[in-house]
């Protein structure tokens, strides 16, 4: 397996449709260049307030762009997130993740080798779009007036060409025709050829005048820097060149031998009879500047952490609790996201065993054995604002829990780190804390980070976004037929796993009901997360789980409502302890599961063995969600409250 998440934040603000679309295209090419067949995508999205005028511009465009591009590639979109927060108003986050499958002996490297081999550019023709896209756009802070100065810098995507490129590459890989391959991303051809050459410790001679152009007036430096989408660069042995060109022609992909690998150790770029550049490739590809940025803990952090949510007024009567439940499940961050996910094809390729609104997307990768993978993305900017070290670990823990809750063993991490300007010492401190938190957390969970992306300069004027590391977690499941859904069947025992504390710092309740962000985020206990995951995965393997749902934003109340709506089955629940805390606390390392009453004892043994606290909540069944002594709400009322906020705003 290979997987990676990458940001396309700034282009998506300037031009939401194309920005988001090319974000999908770029990450898919990254996976493809490994020699892998892309099998699924997902997107982690953050916007300004749902009722901000600009959100009405950005969100529909981003969603349509992801759908318009991804649907046309034939890749199922199986999950992700959508969040709203003022902090992203002038700086939406669009993080795209792609998963691919390959044989380990089929891995392709971005490395040129063998003097005399051809350098082949194939895919779309090169145009004037996206010149300086990464350097002037991604690394620029938007002005206060929100008017981007670099509109033409956004690349324009053509998913049809990308689809052909995917099929063409897979045919080329299957025939083992390339020595090395690299996609053209930021800084276009200049970056691709220097990276290929320096990775292989060779030289390269390239002629720009043979590069197929969309715009014949392009100057050689523009050809070098163009970020036109849907292009790849491969190194091909002379005797295989004809076969590569033939496969490209079969798929209608333009392919041109633009140069060759040399033993000079220098990249020699020519245009007609003129030499444009002659330099050692390492100077461009590897010998980048090393920064030593000043770091300072934000001055307001002590005050922020001291501003405890304990002072906030809590619902005290049963009527207030009922009203709070309905208000919470219709909060923009907790409401149903079908308005978004209905615009993504989750079925194509016929291997989707779970998709949104489940805890993770599950994809079958081997039809004969049922072997599959699960993927989830999570992040919480509010927790990270309060404590970036803890917040990063909470995001990691949630992604880990989500993957385990669907019955799959978490094995690896990719991360997309979204921050303000690194030139701001307090942002740099948030970044350093986050990276340390993730590094320590991954060691403790035993999940290596295989790659990812850092996005800086996400700020408007001098106000940065909340620090937002988004974690993608990959899990493995031996047989996707054993995946666990969130929806309950009738007649099951409902059990709460893990311990609930009075934890409301950075919670959705504090934010949505009181507009409050302060105190400390929930406690992280990665040993407890491991134990919980062991129980969830073990029980799923043993066929003991009829349903499972992790607890995170919005707490137990949100999990109960989502499960009830997904399965169209209600439940009768008895809450342990204070009902408000039980319902809305966001303590980590928790999940709610449904088991067959006959298997409750066996499941209890599993929990006891792992040291996971297991509390009986009640039974599933009927068409009401009843909380003993507190309230009952019909599924119809829950469904209406949960599904309406996005359509009401964007239809």
């Amino acid at each position: 397996m290979t997987f990676k998440i990458e940001s396309h934040n700034h282009p998506s603000y300037v031009e939401p449709y194309q920005g988001a679309a090319t974000g999908v295209g770029g990450i898919v090419r990254d996976i493809l260049t490994m020699g892998a067949r892309p099998v699924a995508v997902m997107d982690s999205l953050r916007f300004g307030r749902i009722d901000a005028p600009d959100t009405a511009r950005v969100l529909p465009g981003v969603v349509a762009g992801i759908g318009g591009y991804g649907n046309c590639l034939g890749l199922p979109n199986v999950g992700g997130e959508v969040y709203f927060d003022d902090s992203y108003a002038g700086n939406p986050l669009v993080n795209a993740l792609c998963v691919g499958v390959m044989r380990t002996d089929g891995i392709k490297l971005a490395k040129a080798d063998g003097p005399g081999n051809h350098v082949v550019l194939f895919g779309a023709r090169t145009g004037g779009d996206g010149i300086g896209g990464a350097s002037v756009l991604a690394s620029a802070t938007f002005d206060d007036d929100g008017k981007p100065a670099k509109r033409p810098s956004v690349q324009v995507g053509d998913p049809f060409t990308e689809k052909l490129l995917i099929e063409c590459c897979l045919a080329i890989f299957a025939a083992d025709l390339v020595v090395g391959i690299q996609d053209l991303g930021a800084a276009g051809l200049s970056c691709a050829i220097t990276e290929l050459a320096s990775a292989g410790d060779v030289g390269m001679r390239v002629r720009l005048d043979v590069v197929p152009l969309r715009d014949s007036s392009l100057a050689p430096e523009e050809i070098l820097m163009s970020e036109s989408q849907e292009r790849m660069c491969a190194v091909v042995e002379p005797e295989k060149l004809a076969r590569v060109l033939e496969l490209c022609e079969r798929w209608g992909v333009t392919a041109t031998a633009i140069g060759e690998v040399t033993d000079t150790g220098r990249v020699d770029i020519g245009w007609h009879n003129e030499q444009i550049a002659d330099l050692p490739p390492r100077s461009v590809a590897h010998d980048g500047p090393i920064y030593d940025r000043p770091i300072r803990r934000p001055d307001d952090l002590d005050a922020l952490q001291a501003d405890s949510p304990a002072v906030l007024r809590r619902p005290s009567t049963v009527d207030e609790l009922r009203e709070t439940l309905l208000r919470m499940i219709s909060a923009p961050n907790l409401a149903g996201k079908r308005w978004v996910t209905d615009q993504y094809d989750r079925y194509v390729q016929g291997n989707t065993a779970l998709a949104h609104p489940h805890d993770a997307g599950v994809i079958r990768i081997d039809e004969s054995t049922g072997l599959g993978v699960a993927v989830a993305t999570d992040g919480n900017g509010r927790y990270c604002r309060l404590d970036p070290y803890v917040g990063a670990q909470l995001a990691l823990a949630e992604a880990y829990r989500n993957v385990a809750a669907c019955g799959s063993r978490p094995v690896a991490v990719t991360d997309c780190l979204n921050f303000g300007s690194p030139e701001d010492p307090t942002v740099m401190w948030q970044f350093a804390e986050t990276v340390q938190g993730l590094a320590d957390g991954c060691v403790e969970l035993g999940t290596p980070v295989t790659g990812g992306n850092v996005s800086f300069y996400n700020q408007t004027g001098s106000t940065p976004i909340n620090p937002t590391p988004v974690i993608g977690m990959l899990g493995v499941i031996a047989d996707v037929a054993n995946r666990v859904r969130i929806g309950w069947p009738e007649g099951c025992r409902l059990l709460l796993l893990g311990s609930t504390r009075d934890e409301f710092g950075g919670s959705e309740w504090a934010w949505h009901v009181h507009g409050h962000l302060g105190g400390r985020p929930p406690t992280v206990d990665l040993a407890a997360e491991r134990a919980l995951a062991d129980v969830l995965v073990g029980a799923a393997d043993a066929g003991l789980l009829r349903a499972a749902h992790d607890l995170s934003d919005g707490g137990l109340a949100q999990a109960l409502v989502e499960s009830a709506i997904a399965g169209c089955v209600g439940a009768s629940v008895r809450l342990p302890g204070d009902p408000f805390v039980a319902l809305f606390s966001e303590s980590a390392a928790r999940a709610v599961v449904a088991v067959d009453p006959a298997e409750e004892a066996a499941f209890g043994d599993l929990c006891a063995g792992a040291g996971v606290v297991c509390t009986v909540l009640g039974e599933t069944g009927g068409s009401m969600l009843t909380v003993d002594g507190v309230f009952d709400v019909s599924l119809d009322e829950l469904r209406a409250a949960h599904k309406s906020p996005l359509p009401a705003r964007f239809d």
Partner: protein, 244 residues
């Protein structure tokens, strides 16, 4: 494997022994997406899928053809408008007119409308958005080559996923389709895309050519789809070919 699939598969397998199995061609255009999925459904139904390439004007002795979903030629100009000129469409149109069963799914339906093998047209969904959703359908005509495994009035659930799925036609055409039983499937809870008279799929005069926007190949098991509601389209064909 589902019970329906197992039952039909076993029956077909038993009969196929003497005869060479039914061969169903699946066309791949540049931009076809659900071609492999259609092949899987054909296999589950007990027939042999045969890949047909858009640039090859040869049907390779198949007994039936499925034109699958996707965005053929990027759906540039108009969905299905360029695909109709593909070399493979020449022999396909001739064979279809001579009675070969043809099923167009989603983009395939659009292609069959563009070639005038089927009446009407598919235009942009009324909400102007792509819609991916499990939809309840009712089978209006269980006598076509692709629907004989169902009963008239039977309800099934099959996913839709398209942006140009709104079926339109003149009042006269729609009246005629309804009067002659050529509406094959309708949206049971109202058309999510604005299709006139809730039409989800139609057929030619003889019921051999069917086009539909919902994707039956994505409803062939409980694991990867919303149940087995779509499998009948493929088993209907296999029964017909094996009984022939």
């Amino acid at each position: 494997m589902t019970t329906v699939g197992a039952r039909v598969g076993a029956r077909v397998g038993a009969r196929v022994g003497a005869r060479v199995g039914a061969r169903v061609g699946i066309v791949t255009f540049p931009g076809s997406l659900d071609d492999r999925d259609a092949m899987r459904a054909v296999r589950v139904a007990g027939a042999e899928p045969v890949s047909l390439w858009h640039g090859d004007a040869d049907l390779h002795d198949v007994d039936a053809v499925i034109v699958p979903g996707g965005f053929s030629y990027g759906d540039y100009l108009r969905a299905g408008a360029i695909a109709r000129f593909a070399p493979v469409m020449g022999p396909l149109v001739v064979a279809a007119r001579e009675g070969m069963p043809v099923l167009g799914i989603c983009n395939g339906f659009q292609v069959l409308c563009e070639t005038h093998l089927l009446p009407g047209a598919l235009v942009r969904n009324v909400a102007q958005r792509f819609i991916c959703r499990d939809v309840p359908l009712v089978v209006d005509n269980a006598a076509t080559a692709w629907t004989s495994a169902y009963e008239n009035g039977q309800h099934i659930v099959v996913p839709i996923k398209n942006i140009d799925g709104c079926f339109v036609g003149s009042k006269r055409l729609l009246d005629e389709l309804e009067a002659t039983g050529r509406v094959v499937v309708r949206y049971a809870d109202g058309a999510p895309n604005g299709s006139m008279r809730d039409i989800a799929g139609v057929c030619n005069e003889t019921g051999t050519i069917v086009g539909m926007m919902p994707h039956p190949e994505h409803a062939i098991d409980d694991l990867t789809g919303p149940g087995v509601g779509g499998l009948g389209f493929f088993t209907s064909l296999v029964s017909r070919l094996v009984d022939a």
